[in-house]
Symmetry: C2
DNA sequence: GGAAAGTTTCAATACCTTCTGAAACATCGT
DNA sequence: ACGATGTTTCAGAAGGTATTGAAACTTTCC
């Protein structure tokens, strides 16, 4: 019975805000998350000016965020016939989206950490097997490296190239619950 | 060949720095991550002053970070006989640690988001089935909610109360590779 | 009970990331 | 080739979170 029309926009705004919030909590700039949220929830191809207007952000900010989203592979360029303006479209398959995000974060943040841990371990290799404190140190590093390796395999397996794995695994897991 | 003794400390510092860096990238304060890293990698029970000295941070900061780590359940209090000072010890089982971290973040960041998405969907329920744009909007929200639900189940299943699931799953997955 | 040792809180400050706005740059149509 | 339209970059400003340092509070021991 409410007047229909404005509430869709309100709902979109709510979603954009929530998604933006989540972004900040996970180390993604709020605007970047909001731009993505807007493109996803509208499902439309929007141009930079549309985004600027809707989110009330500057051109520079919009441009930077769009570039980053393109880098992440969760937004693609689109063109409208007879219009040389560039439009942007969010990946609509949430599984593809999740894959892209996980892959990117794994590459950017987890792999450097693992490399650092390996280097850290090498720093004290000379004293290995001669002193308990050094051995304990190595074991702790190895435990952590093991954890990350397993997680990496899991992620790559589920959201890697094949992709449908996650879905299958999830349904496979559910029946076990009472 | 290198003089042994100092290099363990250097290696620990390296690890602390790397872990701290990772923290910031995932929305955890650098200091909190560093305190945790220090406690984990030394494996020792350290008191606030030890941590302050080693990390060169203020008392207030150390206190806040320790409190947060206790809240997360990845650091516990420890007492030394004949010393009324409080010491802190990091959880040494990396699987327990991972479980605690995932559980906490799920609760703090994912669940509020899901709640917001449900609310968002309810905001436009009135127009459901009457206009295509509204229906598309609902479908997009449902897709995303579905993704999060599956991920939640996965995480809860693997790192939930039972705990050893992840390890098993990982070894189960590995053989598939060529 | 009171001094000493330990712990927590909080307003002020520092720091760092994000954002703006404008200028430089690129591309297209005529 | 030139003007018009669209895009990127960047130095400076804004904003927000993390950190400090000191004061308030708590506990323990004599």
């Amino acid at each position: 019975m409410a007047m229909p029309g404005g509430d869709l926009r309100l709902a979109q705004d709510r979603f954009v805000a929530a998604w933006g919030q989540m972004g900040t909590a996970w180390g993604i700039s709020r605007t970047m998350a909001e731009v993505h949220a807007l493109l996803y929830i509208t499902g439309e191809a929007l141009c930079t000016d549309d985004i600027m207007a809707r989110l009330e952000i500057s051109r520079g900010n919009a441009s930077m965020s769009l570039r980053a989203l393109l880098d992440w592979g969760i937004v693609t360029r689109a063109h409208k016939r007879g219009d040389r303006k560039e439009y942007f479209l969010a990946e609509q398959d949430v599984w593809v989206m999740a894959r892209a995000i996980l892959r990117e974060r794994l590459k950017r943040e987890v792999e450097p950490l693992m490399a650092a841990m390996h280097e850290t371990r090498d720093m004290t290799r000379a004293s290995q097997g001669r002193r308990k404190d050094y051995d304990d140190h190595h074991e702790r590093l190895d435990e952590l490296l093991g954890l990350f390796e397993v997680m990496e395999v899991l992620v790559q397996r589920f959201v890697g190239p094949a992709g449908e794995g996650l879905q299958a695994a999830a349904t496979l897991l559910k029946p076990d619950e009472p």
